[in-house]
């Protein structure tokens, strides 16, 4: 009988014992989305959390992501340049350069394709690539994982962000994507102009900004949006100052870089590139996919007189037959004044976006 009780007791203990999994409850991250912006769609498999954003921010500035531990994402996407690179082509860890300009990282949460040729459909997918690109960070993810695993701080941060102490490329990309989705720019003078024009109520600080908008800036806005003026708004409009499309904007008659065509293989996509946002354009020089224009004046000159005809030229460049929209010097200056209203100092200097200490 004693044996019976003993067996019974052991069985109960074994069955009742269950390893308790330690769980960390993440804190939801509330995005600061401006009132005139649409809702940002967050992927279901990567919800925004305070812990995820903090990890992503640290990883964004982490040089261990590169082969020789000298470069981070921020090397080619510097906050002081609105998360772009002031160089025409970024230089990787081996001293090699690509042939496309580093894109500015602004309001990416509303984008539907990434890279100049749109070869990535999600932010998470895009983030994987620069690490393994031999002309960029030239590292293998398994090495990155190993380096991060050696750091107890990272192990803790990953655990807090994903409830798993396992560090891998997917969770790393998810965390960085969460941080990138916080890089929202919607507090420029242009935003006040947009809100005023569309009947939004302005806050006291916005009203103060409204008082500083010059006649030249308003005139430049009119030109920007005018069919018979600069006609920019077909591709750059709304709160995001871009539409989601690929366009050949008349840079070349023949193409050395096929752009979107390289991805689709479709000749009708040759020479097309993703339409970028114009937000913070004063900070994102040089311009175009290959960074060929160093100044805004050169950009305006291109659309005014420098359009090259080709089979895939965007039909929306309606004045291509005469080389462009033919702005005179006075109009060019007005347009430039308006473009500068898209500068958002609170974005560039946001302490939440800087390298964590």
């Amino acid at each position: 009988m004693k044996y019976l009780i003993l067996i019974f007791g052991v069985a109960i203990v074994i069955l009742a014992c269950k390893k308790e999994k330690v769980e960390y409850v993440q804190t939801p991250y509330e995005l600061k989305i401006p009132s005139h912006f649409p809702t940002m769609i967050i992927p279901e498999d990567n919800p925004m959390t305070v812990e995820g954003v903090a990890l992503g921010r640290k990883l964004f500035y982490e040089k261990k992501l590169s082969g020789d531990n000298t470069q981070s994402c921020a090397t080619c996407h510097a906050p002081s340049s609105a998360f772009s690179d002031p160089e025409q082509f970024s230089t990787g860890i081996d001293g090699l350069q690509g042939d496309r300009n580093s894109m500015a990282l602004i309001n990416l949460g509303w984008n539907t394709s990434f890279f100049w040729d749109g070869r990535s459909a999600t932010l998470e997918e895009q983030i994987i690539q620069p690490v393994i690109n031999p002309i960029e960070m030239h590292e293998e993810w398994k090495n990155v994982v190993s380096k991060l695993n050696a750091d107890v701080n990272y192990r803790n941060m990953f655990f807090k962000a994903f409830n798993s102490s396992e560090i891998d490329s997917l969770n790393s990309a998810k965390a960085i994507a969460q941080f990138l989705r916080t890089l929202i720019s919607g507090s420029s003078k242009y935003d006040v102009m947009y809100k005023y024009q569309n009947g939004f109520s302005l806050s006291a600080s916005e009203l103060a900004i409204y008082q500083t908008i010059t006649l030249e800036e308003w005139s430049g806005y009119d030109l920007f949006a005018s069919l018979n003026g600069a006609d920019c708004f077909h591709c750059h409009n709304g709160p995001l100052m871009q539409v989601q499309k690929f366009s050949n904007n008349g840079l070349d008659a023949t193409f050395t870089d096929l752009g979107r065509g390289d991805v689709t293989g479709n000749p009708s996509d040759f020479g097309k590139f993703k339409v970028p946002t114009l937000r913070n354009i004063a900070y994102t020089a040089p311009y175009m996919h290959d960074g060929r224009f160093g100044t805004l004046d050169e950009v305006i000159d291109h659309y005014s007189h420098g359009i090259e005809q080709s089979a895939t030229l965007d039909p929306l460049i309606e004045y291509a037959f005469q080389g462009g929209v033919q702005l005179d010097a006075f109009e060019k200056n007005l347009l430039k004044q308006f473009l500068l209203t898209m500068t958002d100092e609170s974005f560039v200097n946001n302490p939440d976006f800087q390298e964590p200490q």
């Binding site: 005139h36 769609i41 569309n198 591709c235 089979a311 030229l313």
Partner: protein, 250 residues
């Protein structure tokens, strides 16, 4: 029964008790019926592909590069299929809209080609995320609050000089919107095809008829641009009415 057998029995009962777990009751719902409305662009008797060449009545080679339009408030009486469908041939293929519903409720459909003035000038960021009227989905089909949505868009490149040199350097841009160009569509006898997982109502958009609607023709060499701007009223009205007439059941 020996002590060993008895203890084994007790042990098994104990294990059964501890391992038993009440199964979660899952309430089964019937399958959700999906309705799809598709639009197949054609050019006369042939299927139309973007960026491929077709010959106009005038003898020009034309390559359509973009065809988009809004069908808002498709309904049968008080039954609404969806708030709005957006046809975007390049990005979404032939799909105009997909919604839950019973096909028996839609044996006739009335709809709007464009966006009704009652919502055309609303905040485009305020529509539901799923709505094609939300600015994230409307993308370049929204002009701004005051003019509202672009109802229909046709962009093309045309070779107007028959010299054997296919330049296609003549750009065609029709962006038609504004309340005065709002159109209605009526499909009185809707036939739904059973696709197994959904029912489909198929439309066709004949771009040949769009250019050659009986006596109402659009000569792309001379009539190649309208943004529904002042001075473009006549061409704008012709473009959207021809477009409406080119949209028929397949």
């Amino acid at each position: 029964m020996s002590l060993f057998k008895r203890s084994g029995l007790i042990l098994m009962i104990a294990m059964s008790l501890f391992s038993c777990k009440e199964d979660e009751v899952v309430e089964c719902e019937g399958p959700v019926e999906m309705l799809r409305v598709t639009v197949q662009p054609v050019y006369g008797s042939e299927e139309l592909y973007l960026d491929s060449s077709y010959v106009t009545v005038e003898g020009y080679d034309v390559r359509f590069t973009d065809i988009k339009f809004y069908m808002e408030n498709p309904r049968n009486g008080s039954a609404q299929l969806i708030d709005a469908g957006l046809f975007d041939y390049r990005e979404r293929g032939t799909l105009l809209l997909e919604a839950e519903g019973a096909y028996q409720n839609f044996n006739s459909i009335n709809a709007n080609l464009g966006v009704h003035s009652s919502i055309n000038h609303n905040d485009p960021a305020a529509f539901d995320n799923e709505s094609m009227l939300n600015i994230s989905n409307s993308n370049d089909m929204h002009w701004g609050w005051s003019p509202g949505y672009i109802f229909m868009k046709v962009e093309a490149k045309v070779d107007t000089i028959a010299d054997g040199n296919p330049l296609f350097d003549h750009n065609v841009v029709f962006h038609i919107g504004m309340d005065e160009n709002f159109q209605t569509l009526t499909f009185p006898n809707v036939t739904w095809s059973d696709l197994g997982t959904a029912h489909e109502f198929a439309l066709k958009l004949d771009m040949y008829n769009f250019l050659q609607n009986g006596a109402v023709t659009i000569d792309l060499k001379n009539e190649y641009t309208s943004h529904t701007a002042p001075g473009q009223e006549v061409l704008s009205a012709k473009v959207i009415s021809n477009f409406r007439d080119a949209l028929t059941p397949l």
